[in-house]
Symmetry: D3
Subunit: 237 residues, 6 copies
């Protein structure tokens, strides 16, 4: 790999991101139907987009998918390639060769609303890939790579170039570009608060006290952040 | 209605169009999943396109769907509005108001890969509409009108502005602009030949003789076109 | 029929009801996947509910579906029976016998998230029925009638006894009991305004002027309500 | 049409047939997902079968579907052609030409687990057709006609040549050949009893009295069959 | 964890349970469409139930899902929480916080006909979870927690509080409360017999001899149980 | 295991096989909807087929599935059992007992268009199994084993006995018997060329140079095969 870039959102759970966005009035950001290909995976980074349309044999597509190739070649370190393949499971829009090139260019991952191939290669390449399924044939048997760097749909969500993409075991979430900095700032506290809730529950506090943290227990949150101390659930408050 | 225009393909069955295109090497033209709304309907005409994307409440769509309105206002007599609504059944992308305006402008019909509303109004307006279903809410509750006069997918087919659209009880077929004149020319003979097959079958000729018409019966085709005479199936040939 | 009762919502299009509810902040009221059985149909009235669960042959259901029978017998004139049959297409939860009894009791119709049978009988009975499909077998082969007059899901919506149901060609909409009077009051003006828009469009006004009605044309609305006069689209305003 | 044959099951509702079979211990006979094509339709008759498989372009299928043609040519008056097209909606396995020939040979109808084309022609031909949908292209673009007169699946049911097929608004039911005579014998009484129930309900009897007919009302059944008299629901019994 | 309880069914394969129930005339007990979340998992225990309905924004749900919280707080050691979330994949009805509390209370696992979130946390918590999928948003965005400890549907099966739940790689099976003791008693012999069949097959006995075990080989079953000896397949019997 | 046989196609990626077949004009060979059961798996070998039909309780199936048992007993070392179970997820058509016998007989694996059970056993047996899902009940609850060694559909593809089957992470591909030798011969070069492309991409060559390998880099392919040397991407060519 010739370069790399870490997203300010890296490591944030998608559930936290979805909640922080919803608190800011932004919904419609959780994709549907995609899953990690080749094993558990997480990714975060700004979206570069690629739009496919159904193939029609009187419409000349260049040899070897020129638009798809250009989309891969244009990836910069940290970018996530978001592919609108119309949900098609009839052909693969991404495989080990494009994966190797994307990885070399430092891409942070791929999210495809369609099928991919060479599924076994992605973990080996260290490239996180989320897709709807797998198919052994290349895209041209059913699809044509039409344009790139335009607004697309993916997993039922609108994705514009520059939006950030965050994916983990729970799914894929789009973070509007404007909200990235806000979310990154809020994430640390949110994460600590969730860890505090989790520890309170493990210690035996009931749900109504621990999640969300009840006012009486919020006082002890700073103690927890400083030295990890958890209040005794049997103690009266 | 202030104007009208008849497609050279009007009246051609979609099955004939699909066959003539396939004979010319063009496949991938038959849409999937659309049906006439409000009763049996047929339409033919050049495509004008409209592309929707999933709504996201941080992305400003103009009030009242400005792109969709502009797409309707731009319709010329004989045009067919082809709407890529991503197959969504969560909101309607066309209704009686847009229908009344489209009809006034002389549009030949609407084909929407999504839902429409005011289904009862279309037969009254005399506007043929094919869609995936119906929903009482307007498009904005789930979708945003994004751009028009671009290539789109509809019913699993690529549609470019200027392609012709033909629809009947069997479905919706796209005819590439280049092929329209050829198909119109071939349709008359194809239609007469199918009518001849149909009459031969009604008269008792077996399938192998009547469809496609066997060489021995092709001689009598011109007689049939001239005066409707059908050869006797019991006569040796 | 021994009685009848007309809903204050009768005749309102579902699209109007959905819009008026949305303007009041109420969403999630449009069902998905149901269609009129036996031909075009409309209905309006308060909901009585019936909840099915999957059959399990160690769980004793009374002979002949006692809960379902009681639900039908309890219908009062104008009621709409809303059946949560879990979307099942494996058996029918309503047929001509229950339909005849419901009609006799003055029911306004049936909305079933599942299958019905004796589809040809409903138009003859004059009973509007909306369902997901048809199946010739009775409910007991796959389902058990569990309880009635409880909150249920139907077509993806929450329905509580007493909510009103409105259905037409575009679908089925739930109107919370509290909102019925408001909607009935607003409907007359909304309907007249839609008719005005429709006539403006037919007369040649563009969408931006006619729907929603532009301020310059609102002045003439009262004239239209009084004597049906439509402003000239070519006249400067 | 050169001949005709009326099934002993003609006119029996599928719901009655399903119930009579179930009472005899026979289940798994109601198809799923098929609907009349071109408008309401009913049919009854013995099954002749045709089995399709997915097309593969290295496997030679004869020109013009020789197996399908032979299946149609072998139809005798009253036969129902049952087509296992694997539920495919990618191509049509039956159209107006095969329909015209089948009608000429006296076929009672067609039931296809797949798509058909020329949907508008079937009502004109007087040929009832039940299918999963429509598609304008011929079968060969996706399927190959493989064999006939073998056991097949259709609508999720096993169909053997000689089984009888019964279809109406509620669906399609298979009647094992052995059970046809029994069902025909039982149908008259079952039908009269259902008519009696229906009339009792119309007269105001509650469901528990009228369907199934309660013992106290069974006494009056013979009176009803003789002269159509219905007991008074307000009379004590 | 403050407590624990082992089910008498723990370790029984679901295929064995389904067979033993079917032999006792009980069917309709195998769920459809659920899978382990976060890796292979097994569970067994009595069901506690929770029923969701679709959210509707005029229906007040308490803050933070009070019914769902109460359902978790009421779990006793060994209980399995069965959640009817209507099959929805639009929001998650269970996550790491409820999981931590459930685990602390000694719950044996969760079975949800819907989506869950924080999928990566469940293996870490040691809590087996079966669900239809994952989604990063909490339940309230699409669902409302309605009631608990009532009969529900889950995976297409009826589940009553107190029924036992058994889940492994093959799926989820419901065991009526009455049948638990019987099944536990029968399981030991059934399991040994299956192990005997498996060993016979590994030794080269054909299926007709080994599964189910043919009478000639049943004699040697007690030997196998005592000292693991398997008859020679080449020996005449 | 009493025997074994290695397919000449073993180790070839399905994507390579699909491409080599397509270059020879053979399409329609990639199955849809099947996945490895019990963890990652690969298989290759000639197909033996088994065809199920829907169960109907008046149609006598022998006890214990005689046709399915015969199909398993007839497996020879290296064979792949291909099961057409109509895509049903209502019952399992293959389990640990049939798996143990198949493995003993040297079978190379199983591909089932339906459900299997005892999913955890297959990795332990060393038997690769691809299926549509899992279900704990045996086949007889929903299906009947009808015939074997006939042409079937599986995953939407035609499979004839003797066709070869190849499966990996990307899916399942059918290789017509005639093409096996050709593909085996072409695979070595295709595989080396793909490895060369992969290494070129890792070294930083752009997609247009590396995949497919541009003429300027083909000269160095033989060097790569001989000693693994990769040209420098920064060197002018």
């Amino acid at each position: 790999m010739s370069g790399s870039a870490t997203s300010p959102l890296a490591g944030m759970p998608t559930s936290t991101a979805e909640q922080l966005l919803r608190e800011r009035g932004i919904t419609g950001v959780a994709m549907r139907g995609l899953r990690p290909v080749g094993g558990a995976a997480r990714l975060a980074g700004p979206a570069r987009t690629l739009r496919y349309l159904p193939a029609r044999n009187d419409v000349a597509a260049g040899p070897n998918g020129p638009v798809a190739r250009a989309a891969v070649e244009a990836l910069r370190p940290g970018d996530v390639l978001v592919v609108d393949a119309l949900g098609s499971l009839d052909a693969a829009v991404f495989g080990d060769m494009m994966g190797a090139r994307a990885r070399h260019l430092g891409a942070a991952g791929v999210v495809a609303d369609g099928a991919v191939r060479d599924a076994a290669a992605f973990p080996a390449l260290g490239l996180p890939v989320f897709a709807r399924g797998t198919h052994p044939a290349p895209s041209k048997v059913a699809l044509v790579d039409w344009e790139r760097d335009v607004a697309v749909q993916c997993g039922g969500c609108l994705v514009q170039p520059g939006d950030h993409v965050l994916a983990d075991e729970d799914g894929v979430v789009i973070i509007p570009e404007d909200a990235v900095a806000q979310l990154a700032a809020a994430a640390a506290r949110a994460g600590a608060l969730e860890a505090y809730s989790q520890r309170l529950l493990e210690a035996g506090h009931p749900l109504d006290a621990a999640y969300p943290v009840a006012p009486a227990l919020l006082d002890a949150f700073e103690d927890f952040r400083r030295d990890g101390v958890i209040p005794d659930p049997t103690e009266k408050r």
